[in-house]
Symmetry: C2
Subunit: 363 residues, 2 copies
Amino acid sequence: MNFNLRKKMPYKAISGIGEFGLIDRIAALVQPTLSAVPKLLTGIGDDCAVFQPSAELLQVATTDMLAEQVHFDLLTTPLKHLGSKAISVNVSDICAMNATPRYALIAVAVPASFPITMIEELYIGMSHAAKEYEIAIAGGDTSSSQSGLVISVTMIGEVSPEQITRRSGAKPGDLLCVTGSLGGAAAGLKLLTREKEIMLNHLENNEPYSKNVMAELKEYSEVIQQQLLPLARIDIVRFFHSRNIRPSSMIDISDGLSSDLQHICQQSKTGALIRERSIPISSSTRRVADEMQDDALTWALTSGEDYQLLFTISKEEYQRITDNKKISVIGEITDQEAGVHLVDIYGMNIDLASIRGFDHFSA
Amino acid sequence: MNFNLRKKMPYKAISGIGEFGLIDRIAALVQPTLSAVPKLLTGIGDDCAVFQPSAELLQVATTDMLAEQVHFDLLTTPLKHLGSKAISVNVSDICAMNATPRYALIAVAVPASFPITMIEELYIGMSHAAKEYEIAIAGGDTSSSQSGLVISVTMIGEVSPEQITRRSGAKPGDLLCVTGSLGGAAAGLKLLTREKEIMLNHLENNEPYSKNVMAELKEYSEVIQQQLLPLARIDIVRFFHSRNIRPSSMIDISDGLSSDLQHICQQSKTGALIRERSIPISSSTRRVADEMQDDALTWALTSGEDYQLLFTISKEEYQRITDNKKISVIGEITDQEAGVHLVDIYGMNIDLASIRGFDHFSA
């Protein structure tokens, strides 16, 4: 068979406009549907859609799809961990709205030749995570796949109109805060990718892949866990609710600090200034970066999957949360004209607009 | 490389237990998560999950994943139609609860080499369907795919506690009703598959595939439309609401009449008796079946994708809907002990337990 149609027809591929270009076009196409449903308050453009079932309650909803060989590699990802992560990344989006997750719908496409036990492992991981977050797995869809495992999770959460936190409320003078530490998930991925290559090399050369050739991974367990088993910061949302704190804006860091900070600044129409020396990077992450002759700051700025919360809060409100040691102040919101910058440890001012996060469709 | 691990380890593949076997195992694994969320009234086992945001309102939610080469073939499916169908199949599940659809979240995984215009066509189709059903496309997720297009749609609807209709409320003596006609989507698929083979044969042999060799598809447009562009029966739900009618049970026919009727009987703990001569099959569908020397009744019983509603209603209530010509009575609910049977045109009694619908994982 000879299909030359594609070669003959010049066309513009998605890789030419990138993920955010594609999202902009999709948003323009679906935007006209919003007017039919007045209870739908927010569509594309925040961590979650916002729907108002009744006057005193808001509902937030998000969906994330994970595809084999794109988002995960079964050679380095135990299925139980994968199930848990699929739940956590969606809970993280709910947390970014300062909301409480309630229930999930899960669709999976799976090759018919897959062992049943592997799919059971996946759902054991999901159920375990669901219990931790106190959400119900309420339904879903299963179908066969011609090509690898695909998991799509949709999560619904609830929040009061007084508590909901969007990307758009940051004000100049607000402090920029981040939870936990950044760059760990990237460090874990680098290690797992290295280990996989070692294993495949040994198998290709018919050499035994035994414990002797395996790197001693135990010493790296912190960052590997951050990659394979990230936890959504529901503890922080509960902390905010217990203190009756509402950040002025919030997002979860799934594309890297640089990209996600720019989302907040775009939606809030502000600038921002962050300091390298204030960005929390764990000693384990720094050690892996040194070992790999790579740069931990770049990981923190551009690698996603840390699933920490980035939020802004007024200086007065911040005084009420200083005792929470999981929260670091990394900078301040500025006027929009000032742009979005990082001051590095040498005092150099770097424009973050030039540093983007992960793009699924980058060429 | 030599991976013989799989051959050495005997294991049970999903194909060995089928789709419903897999769903049973998944349901058992996730069932313990439900107790954490009292507002989640119904989990796996109906057309939608049911959640109660407030005392006077119920929310229903469903998700469906469509994968290339499993659910659709881009050689025979225009992307605009595919987008519309992805919305319709989810709206159909909402309708099966006698609920009104409100908003959708859409996740797509797409190869980076895809032309942008093709993805835009997909979303144009989705937006068009959304406008027809008066729902909002509220958000979603986009990512690249290593292997074909995958679309996952989640739909949220609303219904009052007085109107909600489950699979489980059928009572012996209730009439069994179906909307529209059955088997048309199967007829359309057979035609499209035949046409595709003709086209590929011509291309393989370097013969021109011109209008002369194309079957005159116009005369088949009714069944092709039922396959490519099914419409969810929101008109029937609106009719029920306008008359204040609540069927005793309802399901949408996505797996074939036989399989979906059995779902109602299992959940309602009843039997059923349907008559072949009452099953609505259009003359177009019968003509295609004759032409293909196939059986239109088998299509109606075992082919899914008709997305008609199958419901039960008491004989008294039925008197209030006899004027609706889109509704046919096909039989009656019986005691559970009587089983689920079809009486064919020769008076033969056929046990429908032996006739199953589509199974994604059948070997």
